[in-house]
């Protein structure tokens, strides 16, 4: 049992504060109408700037661009500070739930974020505002694959040996696909059957890529023929001229959800709520669908016309939202297992 004496609590606070010092941005207390948003860069940040920020009159948005992992690390480092350095942090649903379980997040107040009422029921959580979502699908190069795979086990066919690609950073979602195929439950990532399924694929020459974009490049160059990816990425790659097509897993497609959270120590919570509400506006959501192929998380954004046709999901597609309460606790053990087993040559 850990020692919880007041002395140690103070020391812990001091150590936490010392760790957070280099991460702090100088922030004057009068800057109430400033909202700091920690987000990914690239298209995502550009779309936020062009489509969400204009909806917020009288609020200055400061964008803190970086990867998700350091952003999450910052939130942990600043957890004991009365004023953190970000008001809104963009994270994936799995990380958002992890932060929520650790008690770092402000519960979302539907009265201050009216657009939360429009969220699809299968995406709702207490502390995480889903912004965009997509489905994990099987991908293939139509020039080299005449009969596309329909289930995960189809990839075990020896004809795909050394021709299957997945992103190492997406390991948890790949494990959820393995769990779904092996046990029927995507949350059982630690089940021996799920792990056996993953190692079978590894034995079939699974190629692990350091970045998501490298998978698209692998398809284009002919290095791989099939793989596992988000449907949104397939739309983006098709737009970029990469010969790739998607097929839905017959056993079900795990949802990838990215969204935003408000830390408990956010200096401008009112501004953060206003930002969340703006990002859920249908007009802003449509732009993310147009540019990045992600689906809107709100039910009042009905995509119409060619975009609606392009992103429409088949009626029989099975969407599998993870149980974040369960999978959040399995991150660490799954990561270690993956690193020690799957990444070994």
């Amino acid at each position: 049992m850990a020692d919880r004496s007041p002395l140690l609590t103070t020391r812990r606070a001091l150590i936490g504060a010392a760790a957070a010092l280099p991460l702090l941005h100088a922030r004057p207390s009068y800057a109430d109408e400033q909202v700091v948003v920690g987000t990914w860069g690239g298209d995502y940040a550009n779309l936020l700037r062009d489509n969400v920020e204009p909806l917020l009159k009288g609020i200055t948005i400061v964008t803190d661009i970086g990867d998700e992992d350091p952003r999450v690390a910052k939130l942990y480092a600043q957890r004991r500070l009365p004023r953190g350095s970000v008001d809104v942090a963009c994270v994936q649903a799995v990380r958002g739930n992890e932060l929520s379980t650790s008690g770092l997040l402000e519960p979302l107040d539907a009265t201050k974020v009216p657009n939360l009422a429009h969220l699809h029921p299968f995406l709702r959580t207490d502390n995480f505002a889903p912004h965009i979502y997509s489905l994990q699908v099987l991908i293939h190069n139509p020039a080299t694959v005449s009969e596309p795979p329909k289930t995960l086990t189809d990839l075990l066919d020896p004809k795909y040996k050394g021709k299957i690609g997945v992103g190492n950073g997406n390991y948890f979602y790949v494990m959820m696909a393995c769990a779904l195929a092996a046990t029927g439950d995507a949350n059982k990532v630690d089940d021996p059957a799920a792990r056996a399924m993953a190692t079978k694929h590894n034995d079939n020459g699974l190629r692990l890529y350091s970045s998501t974009d490298a998978i698209g490049a692998g398809i284009k160059s002919g290095e791989i023929d099939v793989g596992i990816m988000w449907l949104a990425r397939v739309h983006m790659w098709q737009g970029a001229g990469i010969p790739v097509k998607a097929t839905f897993f017959s056993e079900g497609n795990v949802l990838y959800v990215a969204g935003m959270v408000v830390p408990k120590n956010a200096p401008n919570k009112a501004g953060a709520y206003a930002y969340l509400n703006a990002m859920l506006e249908p007009a802003a959501q449509t732009k993310f669908a147009e540019r990045m192929g992600y689906l809107p998380t709100v039910d009042n954004d009905k995509l119409t016309g060619p975009l609606g046709e392009q992103l429409a999901l088949p009626g029989d597609v099975k969407m599998v939202p993870p149980d974040y309460g369960i999978v959040g606790k399995l991150q660490s053990t799954t990561s270690e297992w993956w690193n020690k087993t799957m990444t070994r040559s």
Partner: protein, 302 residues
Amino acid sequence: MVEQDHDSLLMPDSAALAVPRARPRQRGQGGAASAMLGPASLFVALALVAPLLLLLRYSLNRYDAVELMIETVTGANYARFVSDPFYLGVLRTTLGVAVATTALCLLLGVPLAYRLARMTSRWKGALMLALILPLFIGNTVRMVGWMILFAHGGLVDGLVTKLTGHGFELMYTATAVICGIVSVNLPFVVLTIQSTMETIDPRIEEAAESLGATPVRRFRRVVWPLALPGVATAGILCFILAMNAYATPFLLGGPRFQMMAPLLYWEFSTNNNWPFASAIALILMATTLVLTATSGVLLARR
């Protein structure tokens, strides 16, 4: 004296020519120097030692998925590293890559540095610029260039396929990582050795030549002993940089090629296991320090 061979005759004189005799220190100089060094030393102590102590403290804590860190004093993180063959394997890979990279950099760097140091051509400035030009481009961007070169269907693969009919994939191999790190470290190695060789008076070599020494013998018995401190510094610099390489093994080695720095980052950021990541950082630092200190001692004895 008469019984001594040419080599031993040359050494004292060459050393005397190459190293200027130190002037006796004047009174008051020491105090002034200390006063000037004080602020910098204090800054280093605060900016380097204090975070290291914090890192040490973290490494003795226990990881908790919800609390992040539970304050305690335990050696469990260190025990986990040294008792697990996986982590020891990663350390071995890192050491192997660092040693191979250092050897290659010295092998390529010493002749290059010697040629540059002895060059009197007006192109010397341009060549020096060409040497440091890669440093103007970010490390990650340079690695992306290597990725394009090594990729499936890339320049190397395409050329080999054309010549042999078989593909040649270099991406995600130890060779790719070593090539990448050598390209990053080589300018540092050459510049360090070249600056030392510039201080060696060419007249010493001329003296050796006049005494009948062949070019190889001249280099081995005159230039090499005098350049050794610079070569050792370059080797140590290269070794330290290679031990801590992150972008190169991550991008060129891929997820299956594990080195210490990417492993450390994975533990810190993906797993949020700060105590274990701190222990890995200190183990990496300690290994590098011990090995560089040992090589320093061995060289000093020599």
